[in-house]
Symmetry: C2
Subunit: 427 residues, 2 copies
């Protein structure tokens, strides 16, 4: 029986773990694939670096030549970034190789074109590792739930922001201090923009929504807010309301059956919600489906070994497909749902309002909200300096209504300031 | 493109939901499979019963003739039981049909022979619905983690017993009363033996261990204890120790790499363990793997619609395989691990001991335990009548050592009674 040959692009944290497990788990991989599989080349940016456990003779700086080799069956892409990764993946397809990628940014931005290219060349494109690290999520969505209808996904899919929010919650720290701590501990990168501004979570949300709803969701379709504006006061207000603040990726099927909404933003979650207990750099994703009901998937969302676990699971699948002469279930976008605007999304909202003192202030605030169709669910009032601080939660209202109500509140004579408007999820 | 034809065996709670979703989700199923799929016949035990939404002309009492029909591509078996189900499934294979089953008892008892029969006829045998209802578990274990190495599975896989233990915990009820409540609410069957004696969980443990460790685990290999001996005093003792009692299915890879142990028994779990929060009839399964680390899967463990979700996911997979002319990843038992005896399993233990009063009693008890190599981790002593009640937890010890120690304690002059010996897991 022939040996399947694998080209590895990238030998950083994930790549070196992939190479290591391909070595130590070689017998298991062969048994599960039905044929031996071996690393035929490893493309790196800089030659000559010490790479413990990586055979020197496999290392090359010529990635283009590696993916073009006629004997390569599968290319594993873990270099990240978009342009270079796309070109290499496209070349791999053209040369007959299937691709396993962990590249959420690329898949979210160009997944449709890449799937089409893979299909045109009769090869596979798998990327379980692109979303929620080690957690089996894309395969269960695409295959296990293939006979069901997913209505909602609600997930913590970025470990860095979860760690930062966790620090703010447990230490009462402000955002800059919590971020500094996360950076020092290796949970945040030197340039944390992709994580803290929600770009990373938005890419994952686009991928999840596309697979769950069998439609085309582009990165631009995702409403995105990061955590940089969250303050210690917001966290304290959440605590006072029996909640915790989490950065959530939320994908909803519209009640009309023709649209979906996909968004990433901080939200208050009640403490008794299962996602509220997800701490540190862990990820967890709730899935609600017609027949299955509520499912939850939990595990490590990042790291070399956990990501390698997902990459190798995909490797086994695409190798099996290669041997069988087939391709796996690819992107199916038959539902062609439209992606609705954030303005139409209906949630509860938490709002903090600094107001002047006066017996009629609550009535005035309620009146302004009511004019915009926003109804108060709970309200508490506390003295603050010479005025008062209102903390209120609303009944479900559209984002557009809430935005208009907040603008009107800001213009009201009795209002000093409106702060801490955060959406409430999970109840 | 041809239409794939499906025979449904059984039209009870699960079967009728399968039929219903095949109707309402027909367009989705066709898009995901790549060809339309239709119900070609439904075998029932008794004709003439009212079956809302089930087309009369599809119903037959001749299951043998149905599975032997040349035009049937897939047989869905949801009748349960072993002998009749096995004969029908075997006949389906012989007539060229793939099979989707929800039958944990049959798969656990005869999975190896059935897989061999399926392979011999070049068809598929899938049974995601057999373990943990709607939760995608077998596919993630077999496919997503195919490049990893699973070391441990720890799960709540029986909703009935979890509901009963939950009732005992929240109401302080004794077992018979809690079971009565569960029966009245439909969570327990009229004859609850399979659930409360752990047979159902043991079948699931055998299936999980076989797939997770790629070995052959028979139902007889599973050490099994049910919940019928659990008392309100046990639950109270667990509470006092900051724990909750759960019926767990536990599959462990031995440290030597050549053996596994598979067991189902009640165990104390610390309240802060994620499985401790799994309430009512829900299921949840922890999986520990080399690279992935700790994963958790959570969801509804039973019921018509949740089980139908898993059945239909399998239906899509086997239909896709049929169209591609391939079979999916079947049973792989290449590791040929031995299944070790319960006596060798190492856990912490909780023990309750009624002793005579006396300053030297603790020393005597500790001495008896020490003679058997069992070391005390925590101990508390309370007056009880004219004597005392000791509640203690041990450091990890083998089941054999603990059993011998308990026998020796029972023979000791200072010991009235040893009760409430429960293993401790999850710490």
């Amino acid at each position: 029986m022939r040996t399947l040959k694998v080209a590895l692009l990238g030998c950083g944290v994930v790549g070196s773990d992939v190479a290591r497990y391909m070595e130590t788990h070689a017998a298991d991989l062969a048994a599960r694939i039905g044929a031996p599989v071996e690393l035929a080349g490893i493309a790196v940016r800089r030659a000559g670096l010490p790479r413990p456990g990586i055979p020197d003779h496999l290392v090359t700086t010529d990635a283009d030549a590696l993916v073009a080799r006629a004997d390569i069956d599968v290319v594993i892409e873990v270099i990240g970034g978009t342009d270079r990764a796309r070109d290499l993946i496209t070349s791999a397809f053209a040369h007959g190789a299937s691709v396993v990628s962990a590249n959420k940014a690329l898949i979210a931005a160009e997944g449709r074109a890449l799937h089409a290219a893979a299909a045109a060349h009769g090869v596979d494109l798998y990327y379980e590792a692109a979303v929620a690290g080690a957690i089996p999520l894309l395969r269960p969505l695409r295959e296990s739930l293939a006979g069901d209808r997913v209505n909602r996904i609600l997930g913590i899919v970025n470990g860095t922001t979860n760690f930062v929010l966790d620090q703010m919650d447990s230490l009462g720290a402000e955002y800059p201090q919590a971020l500094k701590e996360a950076t020092a501990l290796g949970y945040a990168e030197a340039d944390p923009t992709a994580d803290v501004e929600g770009h990373d979570a938005a890419a994952k949300a686009a991928i999840l929504a596309g697979i769950a709803f069998n439609t085309d969701v582009r990165l631009d379709d995702v409403h995105r807010e990061g955590i940089t504006a969250i303050t210690a006061a917001d966290i304290a207000a959440a605590k006072a309301a029996g909640c915790v603040v989490k950065l959530l990726a939320i994908c909803d099927r519209g009640a009309d059956g023709t649209s979906v909404t996909v968004r990433v933003h901080p939200a208050m979650l009640p403490l008794d919600h299962p996602l509220a207990a997800v701490r540190g750099a862990f990820n967890a994703v709730f899935v609600e489906a017609d027949a299955a009901g509520q499912l939850m998937f939990y595990g490590p969302g990042a790291g070399g070994a956990p990501t390698a676990s997902s990459v190798l699971g995909d490797l086994v699948a695409v190798c099996r497909n290669k041997l069988a002469g087939i391709t796996g279930p690819g992107a199916v976008t038959y539902t062609q749902l439209t992606v609705g605007p954030m303005a139409d999304v209906v949630t509860r909202h938490h709002v903090g309002i600094d107001v002047t003192d006066g017996a009629d202030v609550v009535a005035k605030v309620a009146g302004v909200l009511g004019e915009h169709g926003v109804s108060i669910e709970t309200l508490s009032q506390q003295r603050k300096g010479s005025g008062c601080r209102l903390a209120l939660s609303t009944h479900p209202a559209t984002d557009a209504a809430m935005s208009a109500a907040v603008a009107a509140l800001r213009a009201a004579a009795c209002v000093h300031e409106v702060t801490g408007t955060i959406r409430i999820e999970g109840r």
